[in-house]
């Protein structure tokens, strides 16, 4: 049995975390979740993930600061910024995408998000979520 790839999901919204965990588990990934930066840093140190999905808004912390911490702790790990804070396209191109591997708005469809995750992990894309 192949080893499941580990994904860390950081979000202050429990519903979002749980839904992402459910979908990615169905897709065959091992998913850890964190609601605030300290828990996220602990997971990154103890069980380094292959991909980090994070929101810009997190409990007791700042998304930009956490991105810098992640770059320091796991510089090779791709980061997908999945946020409800809508940025202007120019801002995304000039600022956000220089800090993270990929930026996606939370209003993007789930299949788009999953496809992007598979692409970042180097997995063959699949059409179905379920």
């Amino acid at each position: 049995m192949p080893i499941k790839k580990h994904i860390l999901s950081i979000d202050d919204e429990a519903d979002i975390r749980e839904l992402l965990q459910e979908v990615l588990t169905i897709k065959g990934y091992r998913v850890s979740t964190a609601a605030e930066p300290e828990a996220a840093r602990k997971i990154i140190r103890e069980d380094p993930p292959q991909l980090i999905i994070m929101d810009f808004q997190i409990e007791e912390g700042d998304g930009f600061v956490l991105i810098e911490d992640i770059k320091r702790l796991a510089p090779k790990t791709p980061v997908l910024l999945l946020t409800g804070a809508v940025f202007d396209r120019n801002v995304v191109r000039d600022t956000i995408e220089k800090k993270v591997s990929r930026y996606l708005d939370k209003t993007a469809s789930l299949s788009t998000i999953v496809s992007e995750i598979e692409r970042l992990l180097g997995d063959a894309p699949t059409s179905d979520l379920a």
Partner: protein
């Protein structure tokens, strides 16, 4: 069809059973008859042997008697007596053998006649011996000369021979009868075997046909099952696909709902966090939304203002020049332009006027102006509007 074949096979087996039963009964009957006939044959042979023994002992006794008559030797006399005695014994046995059964009566009758002849012969022999003992050979010669007995032995021989011939004739008849019985038994057994074999073949043919039909039916059933299985698999695959699609739709819907909810709350949070007074109005200047700052600073509750015209609470001073008496909000919306920091008075719930600087930004929705966002910030001193 299946029941019909089963009935036929059962019927044929019953016929086979009946034929076997008849053959068995016939064979047992013939065996019993055979045993009976063999008993009779043995008995008849016994009678013939006794008859021939009588004749043999008669000849032996007669020879011994003649020798005695010539020699006068007591040993010869004893031989004659023993032979005659055995002959009488055999005769008695033969009479006893033929005592039972109606069909034995003629034979017994002959033996009784023979008994008379032998009795006469014994009497002749006894008188001859007595004559020899008393008068020697001469007396015997005289006795033979006076009462010659040349026929008694011949009569006995003829009687015995006739009896033996008759018995042999009966034996021949019985042999023929036995042969016929054996033939009949053999024919019955062969007939039974042939009939049973034919019936077995017929049953086999019927069963083979039935088995072929059953195999065909089983094959048809198997094919139907395979088709059904294929349909079930196809339907299951469709259901699985539909289920996956539904799951996918459900996940997408949940995600969309949560993302939009998050987005909405985030936007709401931004609006609610603005310290300026924000009022959203329709194209007809009716209030559709207010932010918490309006409630906080004017004491108006949303239910007091929503659907009411903004003109009731927001008053602009009349223009200093020109003849444009239209509300500046209406004018800005009509022109699709923004309005910035226009002095106005906002009436609080208590009726106290509050000087504000009012701005307006029209809401464009696909090239149409559907309303406007009016923002106000408190002004320390604004000109008092004249009453209209």
């Amino acid at each position: 069809m299946k029941e019909n074949v089963e009935k036929r096979v059962a019927g044929l087996f019953l016929v086979m059973l009946a034929v076997l039963a008849y053959v068995a009964w016939s064979s047992v009957h013939h065996i019993k008859e055979n045993i009976k006939d063999k008993d009779w044959v043995n008995h008849t042979h016994d009678v013939i042997i006794h008859a021939q023994d009588i004749l043999s002992y008669l000849h032996a006794g007669d020879a011994a008697l003649r020798t005695y008559l010539i020699t006068g030797d007591e040993r010869d006399k004893q031989g004659y007596r023993v032979a005659y005695s055995t002959m009488v014994e055999r005769l008695d046995q033969a009479v006893a053998l033929t005592r039972s059964g109606a069909e034995e009566q003629p034979v017994q009758q002959r033996f009784l006649e023979l008994q008379n002849l032998i009795s006469n012969r014994i009497d002749v022999a006894r008188s001859t011996v007595q004559a020899r003992e008393k008068g020697g050979l001469e007396a015997v010669r005289q006795l033979f000369g006076a009462r010659p007995d040349v026929e008694s032995i011949n009569k006995i021989e003829r009687s015995v021979n006739n009896l033996v011939t008759t018995e042999n004739g009966l034996l021949t008849q019985r042999d023929q009868q036995l042969h016929l019985q054996a033939q009949a038994t053999k024919t019955t057994v062969y007939f039974g075997l042939v009939v049973d074999f034919a019936l077995v073949v017929l049953v086999g043919w019927l069963m083979r046909n039935d088995l072929a039909l059953r195999r065909k039916a089983a094959q048809a059933l198997e094919e139907a099952n395979e088709q059904l299985e294929a349909k079930v698999q196809q339907r299951t695959a469709e259901l699985v696909k539909t289920n996956q699609s539904l799951k996918q739709e459900n996940l997408e819907r949940r995600w969309s709902h949560q993302a939009l909810d998050h987005q909405l709350r985030y936007n709401q949070l931004i609006i609610n966090s603005i310290s300026e007074l924000v009022i959203v109005i329709s194209r007809a200047l009716n209030i559709s939304r207010i932010n918490p700052a309006v409630v906080q600073q004017t004491s108006w509750e949303p239910q007091d203002l929503i659907s009411q015209s903004i003109e009731k609470i927001l008053h602009f001073p009349p223009p200093l020049s020109g003849d444009d008496s239209q509300n500046p909000l209406t004018a800005a919306m009509r022109d699709g332009r923004q309005m910035h920091d226009r002095p106005a008075q906002l009436l609080t719930r208590s009726g106290k006027p509050m000087p504000v600087l009012c701005s307006l930004t029209p809401l464009h929705d696909q090239d149409k102006i559907v309303g406007a966002v009016v923002t106000m910030r408190a002004q320390a001193a604004v000109p008092q509007p004249t009453s209209s």
